[in-house]
Symmetry: C2
Subunit: 179 residues, 2 copies
């Protein structure tokens, strides 16, 4: 099952070592950036999981109330023969209906982009129906893996949704702001 | 099938955009590094595919005749909400039995490391036997995908092997040197 492997790969190849270090990276960032991420409740990686698998490389295009702010400090590791491979997350300002900006660490789950690309490539023999089922399976499997992972507890928030509408519906910013 | 999804994800999420740019990155590197990668036959990504899935994060530990040299110029892209995600490959000097050093761009196929980690985690329900079958399926699927990919033609070499022995057998360096 395609999604099962992608969820495990996303966990063992990324979340398993990024999430436990996140709080330290945010503290370090706050020291150099006037405590921008003030609320410790939001010291998590917000992972966007659109079941449509429609992912914007530039999050600002998904919702004009989401604005790129800065990057967290990088995590640099030797991995599988690549010396000093770079891992980093981006911080975004999210504007609420009160026009105030809250900051959080957010990104899409990249494996959903792989599912989308597979459904576009004829040789993958992967239909739109397969893609929807696999996206649902990916979210379920990821949720189970993370719930059983002691080292990742409290370090993430999965934001699963069907359709984020157009960039004026501000669906994503509202979703991110409701804890 | 786990391996099927991992091979496709490795292609659409990495090789499909890295491989076509490789020759340009190597030319750029050569201009600043006295034409170190002299032989155009080797202007490819050598992808190590151990069927055991036993991957060293530090390639020098796999074979003492392989020595890290430098990194290629980085490829930096906005991907799925991460601003300026960094992709880079490392260049290694490979010592032949004549004691001469040849240079090439080499790394392990990262998804095999995911298969290995899955076989170690009880909740993945993934045995050593599953892992071997999936590693073989991964290599076959990757080969088929890359052979049908016009944009990647001539940009890679798959190095599939059972066991690389200990770091004194120098299996890997000999394998890399025989085109
Ligand atoms: N050698 C190598 N160098 C790279 O820079 C690289 N980037 C991706 N990959 C491999 O390509 C495939 C597709 O990648 P994708 O981004 O969709 O999934 C990735 C992605 O969702 C997440 N991830 C890994 N590195 C990062 C990162 N730096 N930023 C965000 N997410 C990341 O975790 C998944 C598994 O990663 P890897 O297990 O390293 O192997 C990947 C995967 O097999 C790479 N392989």
């Amino acid at each position: 099952n395609v999604a099962h492997g992608l969820a495990w790969s996303y966990y063992v190849g990324y979340l398993k070592f990024v999430l436990p270090r996140l709080k330290d990276l945010i503290s370090e960032f706050n020291r150099d950036n006037k405590n921008l991420l003030a609320c410790k409740e939001t010291w998590k990686l917000h992972i966007l999981l659109p079941l449509s698998c429609e992912i914007y490389n530039d999050l600002e295009k998904a919702d004009s109330h989401i604005q790129y702010c800065k990057d967290l400090p990088e995590l640099v590791l030797d991995r599988a023969g690549t010396k000093r491979r770079v891992y980093k997350q981006s911080i975004y300002g999210v504007m609420g209906e009160d026009k105030k900006l809250s900051y959080c660490v957010v990104e899409y789950a990249t494996p959903l982009q792989s599912l989308y690309a597979m459904s576009q490539d004829e040789s993958a023999a992967f239909s739109r129906q397969d893609r929807l089922e696999q996206a649902q399976l990916f979210c379920r499997t990821l949720e189970e893996i993370l719930q059983s992972s002691k080292e990742c507890a409290g370090c993430y928030r999965l934001v699963v949704y069907e359709d984020s509408g157009d960039s004026n519906s501000h669906f994503l910013s509202k979703e991110l702001l409701r804890h």
